[in-house]
């Protein structure tokens, strides 16, 4: 770690630790801090005040996955400070702009891709170590002793030999302005007090009493409310509306067309209705009588859409292709073969808090109250559209009522900027549930075909996997083979993986673990079918197909988790979940268990789902997950994420799909887009592989394996093989027997 990588600033009697990836970034941070009378904590990660306050501005955002809480634990342990007194704040994106290194070190300056703990482990510890090393050196200098003979103990530097100690707070003035230490002194990890122990979220009490400040709850003096009637077609235009009728609705103040689509392709054109309160704006929309145009071709219905997908699959000539070994020259004579197709429909992130944000465009300044995964991107868009410089943009980022990938898309932001610019008074934009389902950015639909040739010994002699996805843009760009298709652990050779696309007038966006479900569902369901064909236990077959331990490329994410190779990590979690779920014990009549294993964004995870069948329906009774995410920072939060991610995946697999007619989404609310309910949810048992390896994430990994595990369980319980998501197109789901 180079000296220039840290800034220790002495202004305003506080020790400020930030990181800078470049000299230029360091200078920019230095300059920004030198200009402020009071330290803007939002500009930096750690500020230690001479009055004893320690303020941590989390680089990670909160959407229920608890990353800020866990990151605070890492800091408190490495810095050796009292976590109960640590003040936790959220950053507002400014530091990402002044410090390019911040973005790289801290996963883009937000949370996503399940990378918070993976990046926090090196980067947050570094910050804690930088501060602690500096404080030790400062005390040692004052005492005239060797820094090596000093240590820390809960907010104090101590000199063992003489018994001298001094609280951090009393060192701050002296420490600020010191040169950055050449070598950072990390704490022995067996001295950590917090990491590895469960601990409630810092904001738990606020949540339970209704005080947690979600963006939808924000209010500003003089605020008006906006609700937007959006075009049903992603790139359609507003042809007209009955302005007189809208303005006649009590409480409605104004109505005007907006066009965010030109700036932000994910946003739709629409008509903004402005009201004194949310209700008037909503009522105003009902009086609009809008007419729209739809300039882009769209599939009439599902039949036409899936026919187009199949045609593309059959046509070959894929956009992306990966071949292992001599695929075309493989000798298939005398081999048996199995070929199957799997399909997944479009799905929606559907966080419980609808999108909402409050904006005030003051002409030469802009203020936004929002909850987003990546505040920096939101600041950039404000500047782009308004021309207002960053130092005049104030962004307040708060806890998200769920996101799952939805809340870093800038469609709603673009809308509110346009409205705020026109109104020049505070305006709160609230999306409805219908808006969320109909004007969303969806998980892609996909059609896959898997074919295996195998011999009488059950050895796969050739593997062929093809998939088609969609895009609203250039279909030849749909080419990615990774994330569960070609980067999988099975020893298939020769093998070929192909990816193609068709154009569909449907917006796409990330939804918890993109695009793993579309890749993992066909692979794991097919192996399950092959196991049945061979008369072999599915887990045995997975392990046999994985073969001898070896290292395989797994994209850009972390890999290994304590193994020289990484295929062993799959086998390890598969065996662990087999034991955990008592896979080999006989089941009562009508019960079945299904298995899945995967590697998602750095974490290996295996899932078993148990289903019970009766009267033509199935219920999901129990689920088990074995997880290798390296070191577990906060077991309570970690467990929640695996339980929650599993239930999210089961809910999606069971009954969630968006369909379109002539380009317009047909679903509207939870009656037509049903989420799993309390009575349908299984108990979920979670086991973590014991590890002190660097952590990987848990926000997303539990979701993809749930899809095939559920389908496989249904087969085990009923003999019915379902190859389509959502599964409830083919079977009905009953409440768990526990609640009957």
């Amino acid at each position: 770690m180079k000296r220039r990588d840290f800034l220790i600033h002495g202004g305003a009697g506080a020790l400020v630790i930030t990181t800078a990836g470049t000299v230029a970034g360091l200078r920019a941070v230095n300059a920004a801090l030198a200009q402020s009378d009071t330290l803007a904590s939002a500009d930096t990660v750690l500020v230690m005040h001479a009055d004893g306050r320690v303020v941590f501005t989390s680089p990670y955002t909160e959407m229920g996955q608890g990353s800020p809480t866990s990151a605070a634990m890492i800091l408190a342990d490495e810095l050796d400070t009292d976590l109960d007194r640590l003040e936790l704040r959220f950053h507002d994106g400014r530091i990402v702009q002044t410090d390019p290194g911040f973005e790289k070190r801290f996963n883009g300056g937000g949370s996503g891709g399940s990378q918070s703990m993976a990046t926090a482990w090196p980067a947050i510890r570094e910050i804690g170590a930088a501060a602690r090393t500096t404080l030790i050196q400062t005390a040692a200098l004052a005492w005239g002793v060797n820094a090596r003979d000093c240590d820390t103990e809960a907010d104090r530097v101590v000199h063992g030999a003489s018994g001298r100690q001094i609280p951090y707070a009393q060192l701050i003035e002296e420490a600020a302005g010191r040169p950055v230490p050449d070598e950072l002194r990390y704490r022995p990890q067996d001295r950590y007090r917090y990491i590895g122990r469960g601990r409630p979220r810092a904001d738990a009490s606020q949540i339970l009493t209704g005080q947690a400040p979600y963006a939808i709850d924000h209010a500003v003096e003089g605020m008006v409310h906006a609700s937007i009637e959006r075009c049903p077609f992603r790139s359609g235009t507003v042809e007209g509306f009955d302005r007189n009728a809208v303005l006649a609705v009590p409480g409605v103040l104004d109505a005007f067309a907006i066009d965010p689509h030109g700036v932000e392709p994910s946003a739709r054109r629409g008509i903004a209705v402005i009201g004194r309160d949310t209700w008037s704006a909503l009522q105003g929309r009902r009086a609009l009588a809008p007419s729209w145009s739809n300039p882009e071709p769209a599939y009439r219905d599902e039949t036409e859409f899936w026919n187009a997908m199949r045609q593309r699959l059959d046509a070959g000539a894929p956009n992306g292709e990966h071949t292992v070994g001599d695929f075309d020259g493989a000798e298939l004579e005398g081999l048996a073969s199995l070929q199957r197709e799997y399909r997944l429909g479009y799905q929606n992130q559907t966080p419980m808090e609808p999108i909402a944000m409050t904006a005030h465009h003051r002409g030469d300044a802009f203020e936004l109250w929002v909850s987003t995964q990546y505040p920096r991107d939101f600041r950039d868009r404000i500047e782009e559209m308004t021309g207002i410089p960053q130092e005049r943009i104030t962004l307040h980022n708060t806890i998200m009522g769920g996101s799952f990938g939805r809340r870093f898309i800038r469609d709603a932001l673009t809308e509110v900027i346009l409205i705020a610019d026109r109104l020049r008074q505070p305006v709160k934009l609230t999306w409805t549930r219908e808006d969320d389902l109909r004007a969303g950015q969806y998980r892609n639909a996909s059609l896959s075909r898997v074919q295996a040739h195998f011999d009488s010994g059950g050895n796969v002699r050739r593997w062929h996997q093809r998939a088609v996805g969609t895009t609203p843009r250039d279909p030849t760009k749909v080419a990615s083979l990774s994330d569960g298709m070609s980067d999988q652990p099975y020893r298939f050779e020769p093998a070929r993986f192909e990816m193609s696309g068709i154009r569909a007038n449907v917006n796409l966006g990330p939804m918890r673990s993109p695009p793993h479900p579309a890749k993992l569902f066909p692979t794991v369901c097919f192996i399950d079918e092959l196991a049945h064909e061979l008369g072999e236990d599915p887990i045995d077959l997975h392990i046999r197909l994985i073969g001898e331990p070896r290292f395989i490329e797994q994209g850009e994410w972390l890999s290994g988790h304590g193994h020289e190779d990484n295929t062993s990590a799959y086998v390890e979690v598969a065996r662990a979940v087999r034991r955990l779920s008592r896979w080999d014990e006989p089941l009562p009549e009508g019960y079945g268990k299904g298995f899945s294993v995967g590697y998602i964004f750095g974490t290996h995870l295996a899932t078993v789902v148990e289903v019970a069948a009766r009267d033509g329906m199935v219920s999901i009774e129990r689920a088990w997950c074995a997880v290798n995410c390296g070191r577990v920072i906060n077991p309570d939060i970690a467990r929640q994420q695996v339980e929650g991610g599993t239930i999210y995946g089961l809910s999606s697999a069971m009954g969630e799909v968006l369909t379109t007619r002539d380009g317009a989404v047909q679903q509207g609310n939870f009656d037509s887009y049903p989420l799993m309910r309390f009575a349908q949810a299984p108990e979920v048992a979670v086991e973590f592989i014991d590890s002190t390896e660097r952590p990987s994430g848990l926000g997303e990994p539990a979701t993809p394996p749930a899809y095939p595990a559920l389908a496989n369980a249904i087969f085990a319980a009923t003999g019915q093989r379902i190859r389509e998501i959502p599964l409830n197109r083919h079977i009905r789901f009953a409440p768990s027997r526990r609640f009957a």
């Binding site: 229920g64 009490s205 339970l208 309160d277 966080p351 419980m352 808090e353 939870f670 309390f678 949810a681």
Partner: protein, 152 residues
């Protein structure tokens, strides 16, 4: 003018009687603990108590609570020390937390009328509250724990 009792105190609202209680609470009484999740009565995020009964505030026009007793999450204070809240905290139920005030309100209504609910009773009372973060198994444990805490 619509008059009713809100969290033990008289409330007066001069709004369109057709306005759902949800929006009256959030926009006109500045009580944002009751959440908007769907507006269609499907998700339970807006659960309040009307005459002690768990009720979806998005489905009740404010005129319909005239003269009645309405209780929102704010009735239970800021310290999270109701047995249901304590159980929820103990069991780490909340993730994003957005649905949880509705969950807590449904659970309180259940336990007030049925202090020793069976699993079937719990399912019936809680099934209307959607959670996207998958907290359901912990909700069940927390209701049972809250019942225990209330009995002791």
């Amino acid at each position: 003018m619509i008059e009713f009792t809100l969290n033990g105190k008289p409330a007066r609202l001069d709004v369109d009687g057709a306005m759902p209680l949800l929006w009256a609470l959030r926009d006109h009484l500045q009580l944002t603990g009751t959440k908007f999740g769907c507006g269609g009565g499907f998700c339970g995020a807006c659960t309040v108590h009307v005459g002690g009964q768990a009720t979806r505030a998005c489905q009740v026009p404010v005129s319909a609570v005239s003269g009645l007793e309405v209780r929102t999450i704010e009735a239970f204070g800021t310290e999270a020390n109701h047995p249901v809240q304590r159980a929820w905290a103990e069991i780490n139920v909340a993730q994003c937390g957005y649905c949880q005030t509705g969950q807590v309100m449904s659970a309180i209504a259940l336990l007030e009328r049925n202090p020793s609910p069976s699993d079937g009773d719990i399912a019936q009372a809680m099934n209307g509250n959607l959670c996207r973060c998958g907290s359901y198994p912990r909700v069940r444990q927390a209701v049972l724990r809250a019942a225990e805490l209330s009995r002791s």
